[in-house]
Amino acid sequence: MIKVAGLTKRFGSFVAVDSLNLDIPRGEIFGFLGPNGAGKTTTVKMIAGLLRPSAGSVQVAGLDVHARTLEAKKRMGLVPDEPFVYPKLTGVEFMRFVGDLYGVPLQTQARRIPELLEMFELRPWGGELAESYSHGMRQKLVLAANLLHEPEVLILDEPLVGLDPKSARLVKDIFKELSRRGRTLFMCTHVLEIAERLCDRVGIMISGRLVALDTLEALRFGREGERLEDIFLSLTGGQQYSGLLKYL
């Protein structure tokens, strides 16, 4: 469903993403991990068609994202790391706007918008301006809006940040159900526990290069009993910072 081949992005002499290759099948939840500044967000932007690659290509649902951008965008949904919405639109109006942008028929919107708001427990707030929403409510609104056009691929950048435990559990269940229904989820996260519980495969990126790509079981091979966090830190060199604690 998502095919990334030789994807490279350079900013001047700095290589943010270096020859990335990925092939994510339909229905998979793929976790994309890496330390800050590893090139994850740059990759997400290239997959979502927001940033042109210096080399390589991205295909979503068989469409070249940079050649047939608008068609590819119709089949995708993007949940950014910060859920900025129009403060002067109500929740319902925001969803209505997104629905129209994605060409969702009005009858479908009239049925789906209340359902989605209900599912994310936003129904009582649907008529309120988004400026009065908390961070978590905005996050849920953006998630709901992204499900309105039933995208084949959902790109999620830290989708659970700011959600209360109940909402986080709900969202995780929704992701699993979407995967079961054949939707593909590409998820960037720093919360390794989420990646461990949700993702079918994970990719770990460091300094623009993919250093690991496999199922959790395969990554754990020979290191039984270790958590994803340990594997992640051994790959990214996180242990070296333990000496810094003396400054506390």
């Binding site: 940033l51 950014p80 900025f84 639109l89 706007f97 129209d100 942008l101 060409g103 009239a110």
Partner: protein, 571 residues
């Protein structure tokens, strides 16, 4: 006091760091801004100098006239500072971006209030001071006042501005404490804007230019006693006027008056400000807390067709436009309409635009023009004035339109709506009201001036096209210089992009007028009976020139802006 000093020092450091981080381009841009501002102030000074010299030359009552005018100017300044303070303190005292941090810190609330109130007082008064300075320098020059006059003004301005700003801040604080809701904030904002617009219209309707006309001045002489009487003696503007007047020797015992009035002004400012701080100590915390609450609006949750989507569906059913594209376009237009009219900052601007229109037409009506030819000439030159009004409104409304997408820009950026469609939606949304306004201005002006049919049609047609081009330029330059992280419209319009847009707009207007001079000259030659007829070739060249100019002025920034937005994520 120590904590206040810490807060003020951070402000100074931020300012210093901003200066240190300026790029050469930003230095050049700021220098250009400063130079343009300086020349404007010099122009004002020149105008004031001429007016005051003329008034000074009026036998017997010259000095009285001058000081009456000064008292009126100070009274207006005092009122404007107080009104501005109502508007500005609402943001600085309750919605400033750093307030959540400051209120969380272990700082006493009166300290936070003191810092924010000084900021409000500064921002409410600095621009009015800039406008007042050319007047005072002209006054000092005409009346031959010593350097101590300027020093005294420099010192007394501080209590004067602080006192006026304290009144505004006290009003805001009281309202926010009594009615702590967003509705109050909106109502307060609107009321203040309407008051400002009202003051602006009233000032213009009072026809201040009549003071400079000798025939009116004879009537002024009849009011000699009125001139000698104090102007609002209970207000600090009169105290400041008296203190300044003491340097002129118009009244006896100048030194005593100066020290008396200075003490009155400084003491009152200190008392009122101290009182404000005391009240703030008791009420600011609760008022701030209340201001963070949003009133529940309970808008409809029904998903119904919008007027825009209905129109789009109708047009696409007639085969005029592509259905899906039309629906997206309609959605953008609807979203812009909703967000625009719900933003109370725009209501206040609309009130000021209506005031501007009234003043514009009133000024045209009052132009002292005697002959039909002069009226026609003015009607032609009125194209430039109307163009300037449209470009100024464009700077306020059209240019920030793309930036006002703000951090929610990702919504349209990720959607299947192209950036061209987004820009076209912004264009249409601003062009429709702008063309209605500009056509009203030009058609009514032409009627008031009794312009002949040729000039009327030429000016109406030009302004119609000019509005479209200036709106296109606004959207294009707005896309070329977007500021998605800035929520303050004033920062967007006073950015480098705003400066470039205004410079390009003024250049475009000047070129338009230059290209139309030839046909207008032929028309006047015909009126005067000295023409050999219309030169078709020259007219054709002018028309071609106008076509090319408008195409370049519209498409140039538009295409550059669109390309810039497409590559925005690269930045």
């Amino acid at each position: 006091m120590r904590l206040l000093a810490v807060l003020l020092e951070r402000k100074a450091r931020c300012g210093f760091n901003s200066l240190r981080e300026l790029t050469p381009w930003e230095w050049a841009r700021n220098a250009a801004f400063a130079a343009a501002g300086f020349f404007m102030l010099m122009g004002l000074h020149h105008g004031f100098l001429r007016l005051l010299r003329f008034l000074d030359g009026v036998p017997l009552i010259g000095p009285l006239l001058i000081w009456k005018l000064t008292a009126v100017a100070l009274l207006s300044t005092f009122s404007m500072v107080a009104l501005s303070s109502v508007l500005i303190s609402l943001t600085t005292l309750f919605y400033s971006f750093d307030l959540p941090f400051l209120m969380k810190a272990p700082l006493p609330e009166p300290v936070v209030f003191a810092e924010k109130s000084l900021e409000s007082a500064f921002f409410s008064s600095w621009m009015l001071l800039l406008v007042l300075l050319p007047f005072l320098f002209a006054l000092g020059e005409v009346r031959g006042l010593p350097w101590t006059f300027y020093a005294a003004f420099g010192w007394l301005w501080i209590p004067f501005a602080l006192l006026a700003a304290s009144i505004g801040m006290g009003f805001t604080l009281a309202l926010m404490r009594l009615f702590p809701s967003s509705r109050t904030r909106d109502a307060l904002w609107l009321l203040s804007s309407l008051s400002l617009a009202g003051v602006y219209v009233l000032l213009r309707l009072s026809e201040p230019e009549r003071l400079a006309r000798p025939d009116i001045l004879q009537r002024v002489a009849d009011y000699l006693r009125y001139l000698q009487a104090p102007t609002a003696p209970a207000l600090p503007s009169w105290w400041l006027a008296l203190a300044l007047q003491s340097f002129d020797g118009v009244r006896p015992s100048g030194a005593a008056i100066f020290w008396g009035q200075s003490a009155l002004l400084t003491g009152s400012a200190a008392t009122v400000y101290a009182g404000l701080l005391w009240i703030a100590g008791k009420t600011y915390g609760e008022a701030y807390s209340g201001a963070q609450e949003s009133a529940r609006s309970g808008r409809s949750q029904e998903v119904l067709p919008t007027p825009e989507s209905r129109l789009a569906a109708r047009l696409s059913s007639w085969g005029l436009i592509d259905g899906q594209q039309a629906l997206r376009f309609a959605a953008s237009f609807w979203k812009d309409r909703r967000t625009f009219f719900r933003d109370v900052r725009h209501w206040s601007q609309m009130a000021l635009v209506l005031a501007l229109m009234a003043v514009y037409l009133f000024s045209v009506r009052n132009l002292p023009l005697d002959t039909p030819d002069l009226k026609n000439l003015v009607a032609f030159l009125n194209i430039a004035v109307a163009g300037f009004v449209i470009s100024s409104l464009g700077l306020r409304f059209t240019f920030p339109a793309i930036s006002m997408e703000g951090r929610a820009f990702w919504v349209t950026r990720c959607s299947p709506q192209g950036l061209g469609a987004l820009m076209a939606g912004k264009f249409l949304f601003h062009w429709i009201p702008m063309v209605l306004l500009s056509m009203t201005l030009i058609v009514v002006s032409n009627r008031l001036l009794r312009a002949d049919p040729f000039i009327s049609w030429l000016s109406a047609g030009t302004v119609f096209v000019m509005t479209a081009t200036l709106c296109g330029m606004g959207v294009g330059f707005g896309a070329l210089f977007p500021r998605f992280n800035t929520t303050n419209i004033h920062q967007i319009e006073s950015s480098a992009g705003g400066f470039v847009y205004m410079a390009a707009a003024i250049g475009y207007i000047a070129l338009t007028i230059a290209l139309e001079v030839l046909p207008v000259q032929m028309h006047f030659q015909q009126r005067f009976g000295i023409s050999r007829g219309w030169d078709a070739a020259a007219l054709g060249l002018c028309a071609l020139g106008l076509l090319l100019l408008n195409a370049a002025a519209f498409l140039g920034p538009w295409l550059l802006g669109r390309r810039h937005l497409e590559h925005y994520e690269e930045k």
